[in-house]
């Protein structure tokens, strides 16, 4: 009788890539629920479209590459890409936005570079930047929080808006975004940026109704929900704290210093932390293992760099938010970071 031959180790911790990815998208649920509460059901339609597109794109790319299709679906990495992109774009954006972005993310950013594990750039963020640059109007038309909205949008209206551009009553997205004063309402970061650029002081800029809450109605709570989900990921050891920690320090420390010297002209650290894609970016996007640095020291540097770039772009750049750009720029530096943060191997003169 001959027995089975296998390579050691024979014991294995049963946490597969699929399980890791599942944790990531499950931890997004609180954020998505809060987003729904403030911005309506559009996010579910976007999610459905993104998932369908990702599924088809992944299958198509694998087939073209002559690889087993089922294998790729199994690892759930495409699901994470689709979910991240779907929740990053305005909830009422037209359907072709998310379809195009997801297809680009999966086919070009991921598979053209060699598939899972080989891509240089974060697929969701590269897809996001493609959309932001190509379709700036659609990509910045965030619905206003429900409590400030003049018109409530039902589920059927949401679907109608995404597919035809109008509600059943004939309103378009622009009209829905008007506040009580008849002025289109921007996101907190967008609004702040415009006002500060127009020489308003911070307190004047913050007098708008959208800032009636902690750090912008809705946005603060969405960020807090993503923060909670992110803490679960750290607790579950799906991600290490180094990247989110680094990113928040890299963003908030310069922001605080700048704000101390320019109290009237700077975005407060609180607003930096709790608006835009800060928490989503810190815990879910920058932590994509494929495109991040690999050692803990490297992760810390990588996080700091992203945070600092977000601060710089938000403060002096041409876009209100900056997480996507910052992540892509930091992705490019990963090989260099990895090279210079390599731990000293045992017995090579390191200290215990």
């Amino acid at each position: 009788m001959t027995f089975k031959i296998a390579a050691s180790p024979h014991a294995h911790q049963r946490r597969t890539t699929q399980q890791v990815m599942r944790w990531v998208y499950l931890a997004l649920i609180p954020g998505v629920l809060v987003q729904t509460y403030f911005f309506g059901f559009g996010v579910y339609v976007q999610l459905a479209l993104a998932l369908l597109t990702a599924w088809v794109a992944e299958g198509l790319a694998m087939r073209l590459r002559g690889r087993p299709v089922a294998h790729a679906w199994q690892d759930h990495t495409a699901i994470v890409t689709a979910v991240l992109l779907a929740i990053s774009i305005p909830a009422l954006a037209p359907w072709w936005i998310i379809v195009m972005g997801t297809a680009f993310a999966i086919i070009v950013v991921k598979h053209v570079y060699g598939g899972v594990g080989q891509n240089l750039f974060n697929p969701a963020m590269a897809g996001y930047v493609l959309l932001l640059i190509s379709f700036p109007v659609q990509m910045t038309s965030w619905p206003i929080p429900n409590e400030l909205a003049q018109l409530q949008v039902s589920i059927s209206d949401t679907v109608s808006l995404i597919f035809s551009g109008f509600t059943q009553a004939g309103y378009n997205v622009e009209q829905l975004r008007m506040g009580a004063d008849g002025i289109t309402m921007a996101t907190p970061l967008d609004s702040l940026r415009n006002d500060l650029n127009h020489q308003l002081t911070l307190s004047e800029a913050l007098s708008k109704p959208i800032f009636d809450d902690l750090a912008g109605i809705g946005w603060a709570w969405v960020n807090i929900a993503f923060l909670l989900g992110g803490l679960v990921l750290i607790k579950q050891k799906i991600i290490s704290w180094h990247i989110p920690g680094g990113m928040l320090v890299g963003l908030l420390v310069p922001a605080a210093i700048y704000w101390l010297f320019n109290p009237d002209q700077a975005i407060t650290p609180m607003l930096h932390a709790l608006s835009g894609a800060t928490m989503l970016g810190a815990f879910f996007i920058a932590t994509d293992p494929v495109t991040a640095a690999t050692s803990n020291k490297g992760r810390w540097v990588f996080g700091l760099l992203i945070g600092f770039l977000v601060f710089v772009i938000r403060t002096w750049g041409g876009y209100p938010d900056a997480v996507a750009f910052a992540v892509l720029l930091a992705n490019m530096t990963v090989p260099v970071i990895d090279k210079y943060t390599q731990p000293i191997a045992y017995g090579h003169g390191g200290r215990s």
Partner: protein, 532 residues
């Protein structure tokens, strides 16, 4: 005393980076005392059971041997003897399967047991301090003792390195899951291990020994605590449970905060380490004169009915050992020699238990699920987080797949201790250690080939040089001979003798005249023909 030494004396436990906490599953085998194993009918003794050359053969087929009788003797290149595990007849000496991952054959002595189990007379030693260090080393060598912890390095060899030593470390950590051989040995034979440790200290000329036990072995710790009061040279160190804290380099880091330099030895940092089983064997060899013919083996896993620890004679076939323990194989059964992290699978069970065999593990596929398909690396870095050697396993994996041997060297592949922590945590189930082992073997092969090619090149060049030299010598000889001939001729002519050149000229003239005559005759004939 330096601050670092003070901290070691005070019992500080340092930490090492990485490490994992796999399910320990030791309770499966550590509940019952070490049991004797009934004698087998046949024993297979590979000549080489340690790291070094095999010893020199002392017996031939047909010889009757007794238990403890040496079958080989100490030889060159760390050659250690092996001894007959029981009395019987030598029925074969030749190639046989050995306990090695390659499954390749090596020279094996087969002994058919006579069932009487007669032992040779032992020569106990009343007071080892009365004989010389060299004699003690000789005694240990002749007993065939090699490190029983796994590497099988000849113990006497390790002790013979005459360098200053700060501490002798006795390794009773046994961090690999499932295995409890050292645990049981420490519980039941703490005094003998202490005796062995004192002998080792005496031989090494060292002042102090640190006995390290992992915190998950409270009974073993208690057994030593009860005895150590009387032995001021020995100190107990309890290390936290983490795999691979029992690895030589990691344990050194834990107990002293020192790191063995890359490609160096523990003695480079003033330390030497021995396993508890080795200390036990040394005590038996020195005090009782008993050679190494048996060891404790853990037989465990859900597919044996009687898991536990057994005194197993070296050379016992694994098949027999498992049969005695109620082996119930399942389809695609794996039989692992060693533990679940670093052990290797056996294709055939005729393989014998040897000096370094600490465990036979026969897991069910529920407890240790077989490996899944390898998926793509997602660069998650989990492997780097757990690597105790602070390497970048995923980087090594890319380089190994690309056969970039220079890159592997730069990334310190040879500092990998193959503990398997990286592959254990890999979410893509990449058999990382397998890739490293393969790359290491390839690099060693290339180095060997290179050395061989270098020798061949030197030989070729030497031959070319010799041929060229011979050719030049030959030409020179010819030249000299021709010159001498010419000179002799010239001299002969000068003295009025025949010039050989004249004879040549005359011969040419004669030949020309003959040809002319022939041509004239032919012409004449043609003419006559025409006339007719």
């Amino acid at each position: 005393m330096s601050a670092a030494t003070k901290a070691i004396e005070a019992g500080q436990i340092w930490t090492f980076p990485g490490g994992i906490h796999p399910p320990e599953r030791k309770e499966l085998s550590n509940q019952t005392p070490i049991a004797p194993l009934a004698l087998a009918q046949e024993y297979y003794l590979p000549l080489k059971q340690h790291s070094g050359a095999p010893g020199e053969l002392l017996v031939q087929v047909g010889d009757q041997v007794k238990a403890g009788q040496a079958l080989t003797q100490v030889g060159a290149n760390n050659g250690l003897p092996v001894h007959a595990p029981t009395s019987g007849t030598i029925t074969a000496i030749g190639p046989g399967i050995i306990a090695h991952p390659s499954g390749l054959a090596d020279t094996v002595i087969t002994i058919t047991a006579d069932g009487n189990d007669e032992h040779i007379a032992l020569e106990p030693l009343a007071d080892y301090t009365q004989i010389s260090r060299a004699d003690l080393l000789e005694r240990i060598k002749n007993a065939g003792i090699a490190g029983l912890g796994g590497a099988g390095f000849p113990t006497a060899q390790k002790l013979a390195l005459q360098r200053p030593l700060d501490y002798l470390i006795i390794n009773g950590v046994e961090c690999e899951p499932y295995i409890s051989a050292d645990d049981r040995l420490m519980r039941e034979h703490a005094q003998t291990i202490i005796d062995g440790t004192e002998i080792l200290l005496h031989i090494a000329g060292c002042e102090k020994a640190l006995i390290a036990i992992e915190a998950n072995k409270p009974e073993a710790i208690a057994a030593f605590e009860a005895l150590l009061d009387k032995h001021p040279q020995l100190a107990l160190r309890v290390v936290p449970v983490k795999y691979p804290s029992g690895g030589e380099k990691q344990l050194i880091q834990l107990l002293t905060g020192r790191q063995v330099p890359s490609r160096g030895l523990p003695i480079d940092v003033g330390l030497v380490m021995q396993n508890v089983g080795t200390a036990f064997a040394v005590a038996q060899a020195v005090l009782q004169g008993k050679p190494l013919i048996e060891r404790v083996v853990t037989v465990t896993g859900e597919n044996v009915e009687k898991p536990g620890n057994y005194w197993v004679r070296l050379g016992t076939p694994v098949a027999y050992l498992l049969e005695q323990c109620g082996f119930k194989p399942e389809p695609d059964q794996r039989v692992i020699m060693g533990g679940p992290m670093m052990g290797f699978t056996l294709a055939e069970l005729a393989v014998p238990v040897v000096k370094i065999t600490n465990c036979i593990l026969v897991p069910s596929s529920q407890e240790l699920a077989p490996a899944q398909d390898e998926m793509a690396c997602i660069r998650c870095g989990a492997c780097a987080d757990v690597c105790p050697a602070q390497l970048l396993p995923q980087q090594l994996q890319w380089l190994a797949k690309a056969k970039d041997y220079d890159g592997l060297d730069q990334q310190n592949l040879f500092d990998c201790i193959e503990c398997g922590a990286c592959a254990y945590v890999c979410p893509s189930e990449i058999p990382l250690v397998h890739y490293y082992r393969k790359a290491k073997a390839e690099i060693r092969n290339i180095a060997r080939e290179k050395a061989k090619a270098e020798v061949a090149r030197e030989r070729f060049e030497a031959r070319q040089e010799r041929l060229e030299r011979e050719k030049q010598e030959r030409l020179e000889r010819h030249r000299k001979a021709a010159e001498a001939r010419k000179k002799a001729q010239a001299e002969a002519v000068a003295q009025g003798g025949d010039n050989p050149q004249d004879a040549v000229q005359a011969a040419i003239a004669r030949a020309k005249a003959r040809k002319a005559a022939q041509a004239a005759a032919a012409q004449q004939e043609n003419k006559e023909g025409d006339d007719a």
